[in-house]
Symmetry: C2
Amino acid sequence: MSQPSLHRPLSVADVPQWDFETDVVVIGFGATGACAAIEASATGADVIIFERNSGSGGASGLSGGEIYIGGNGGTEVQRAAGFEDTTEAFTRYLKMAGGPCVDEAKCELYGQEALAHWEWLKAHGIPYKGNYLPGKHIEPMGDDTLIWSGSEAAKPFCDYAKPAPRGHVIQFMGWGGGRKLVDILEQRTRDMGVRIETDSRAVALIQDAGKIVGAVMRIDNEERYVFAEKGVILATGGFVMNDDMRRKYCPLTFKINDPIGDKDDGSGISLGMGAGGEAIHMDQFFTTCPWTIPEPHACGVFVNINGQRFINEDCYHGRVSRTMIDQPGDRVYLLLDNAHYIEPFEHARMTMAGTGDDWAEVERELEMPENTLSATMEFYNHHAGKGYDPLFGKQAPLLKPLDQGPFIALELNFESSYFSFFTLGGLKTSTDAEVLDRNGGAVPGLFAAGRCTSGLPAWGHGYSSGLSLADCTFFGRQAGRKAANGPV
Amino acid sequence: MSQPSLHRPLSVADVPQWDFETDVVVIGFGATGACAAIEASATGADVIIFERNSGSGGASGLSGGEIYIGGNGGTEVQRAAGFEDTTEAFTRYLKMAGGPCVDEAKCELYGQEALAHWEWLKAHGIPYKGNYLPGKHIEPMGDDTLIWSGSEAAKPFCDYAKPAPRGHVIQFMGWGGGRKLVDILEQRTRDMGVRIETDSRAVALIQDAGKIVGAVMRIDNEERYVFAEKGVILATGGFVMNDDMRRKYCPLTFKINDPIGDKDDGSGISLGMGAGGEAIHMDQFFTTCPWTIPEPHACGVFVNINGQRFINEDCYHGRVSRTMIDQPGDRVYLLLDNAHYIEPFEHARMTMAGTGDDWAEVERELEMPENTLSATMEFYNHHAGKGYDPLFGKQAPLLKPLDQGPFIALELNFESSYFSFFTLGGLKTSTDAEVLDRNGGAVPGLFAAGRCTSGLPAWGHGYSSGLSLADCTFFGRQAGRKAANGPV
């Protein structure tokens, strides 16, 4: 027999001693793990969180602290801004965002429960300023609350689900509110008496007659054995930092170069699979290049190397960026006229690829055949001037003729521009966050949430900002409650 | 503990009796299983093949009996036709065909060994007429041997690997030579004394201290226990007939409706995963709609619902078809002029969507905006008349202006046209066909080949006819030899 590992649970018979004993073990201390611990603890269960780093954070701590919330008539922030967000419209959008990978049951549950989740977040101390910031923003530059954070108002989504802004951002000045979000959740776990063990890396699960009853943690270079009476919750994030897993499961990400994550090496996915869980939609990933900054650039038009448009550019920046990666060649171009051009966001690493007094000159500078890019732009401008985009359905206010020279083409190169990305595939779980085996049965004692699972953000082309943290915090809570309450 | 199943091996301690005892068990009697059995038997090992149907066949039996072969200067058929096919060019093409999913070691081994494999096939009685059939064919209508069966001569492949035709088709009049191929291989297994048990369905593997030592078969409604001293070989095919697996792993296939397979329900993949093997590239699939029939249609041009071309149409019909599925909407159009139009192949279920005396009229009939399809065709014809395709690099002899009216648009609808498909993802295996676990180690006693593995045809956009049977027959042989010879 091989040694117990990420891929094979240790038999309880081989446990030399119990170094820790508790009701619920949570592995990973990002937003998912914190929410799981809070809810488990709230039932009266004893809880320990193990975190491999020296403190909380995970990928959540690197995020903008934005959570996708709506339905049931809308939050008070949505309502004050004039958006009455029905559960039907909200749920419908969630399902469209899941595309071919959708987990309908999770969308339906979250559609019903998101407003209550919002109340829970506030009750646990997450502050919101309460105002609505119109326009197209990746994250607010100030401390505003509500933004449009997906493709709700764009085709085809708006034809099927009444749009509303649903990105609810923690009150925090500038980008990076995720760190504050996790800090507040961490303080809650401490207030509730959750035990926190940092610098502790999970190396195996422990199994007793098919049930997961604990985990082997590596602490101070030694193996420590943890007994979990009620269950183990995996909250370890995705596998964007694991090249071997990316090559096997998500090789398209090798076209781009900027993984976002902390130590997201897929260890929780491996632990779950080793215990009999199954991983699904492992080829899916989010990516974005921040091309909508500065704001006038959101009026730009994208063409591929053949001078063809490929999407309505008023979709969510990440949906547009994900579609870029599907294009032939190693780059796409963002076209702007003088009325909309401002020096590009340095962080995006876009370069000036061509300029001209008309689009034909830009076309020549890019060494494209005559009547490709220029024909595309003539067609686009002709219709944009009349207020419509017959090909892709781009809409006002971003639909504007680009006809005031000089004209500019910025290159977004998959190799050298900043395309951040993270993985979306992971363990298949029930709406109660139970890890499911290939028969659809729950692996006894094992739970998971966040990016080590396939959840609300299931499909790269449908990602919307705040979907991942919604999934992490909500299904993290589900995991905590279900583990603590045990089998019904 | 749950019952042993496809997902969980039975412990040898729970085996009530051995109903069969042998050296090597092969599960599945298509081309893969037959080749595995022949090679295992050739070492002197005792071999039993179990097949759930009443006779041999599998998906191989439904195929054209075409095998992708080249390298080492070429087969005598290639050489007689004037193609000196180097190992370097052959291997390079195999790797490009694997795209982001490529298994380089398998490409390199097969690149070296394909010519020897060709000799082996002939030595085992597979007949070849020996002639070369130029042109673009899905399969020969006659009993010809050598055809162009991939994208070798098309961009971008031809820029990196010197093209040669490599589809070697069994001598058989018309389509469907795969049945004859399997019949001959079956006869060889019988001649060699391989035991054949039909109407026998694998329901679980049997494990002894981590090693696979047999299988539980369902025969006559009873469980029968099979001991395999040297190993078990999975040769069970893909999962195209399993909707649940498709939904979890390959949901894009729900856009189309014509699975090709026998009972390809993924059972071997499940057995392998249950024993600790891992499955990779499960999102990949082959698809094709037979649009190159009748032959003049191969000169056609494809546009998506926005009137844009999307690929050089002189690629392999399956690569073109797979790219269709990536386009927006639920259909694409094949454009033809009167010089190239013939009544379409009935089986393809394409429909006449629009006609006109010029392309502008076709555009109107398809209710496309003015200057979309017509501009695409004006551009295409202008350059095709000069012998080049500046956008996608389509080449002679299929690059022809479509300028002789009346003009026709045939609709290929993803819902209603015939898009056949099968899955390409499966167990990760070594070049010796050992099933590999998530650490890259071999699962002792377990081997697999063919479409229950991810092999030479790893990437849907790179599929070429004959790649799957090459993979099945060659790595089936590897499995048979490695299982019979045991650990080195």
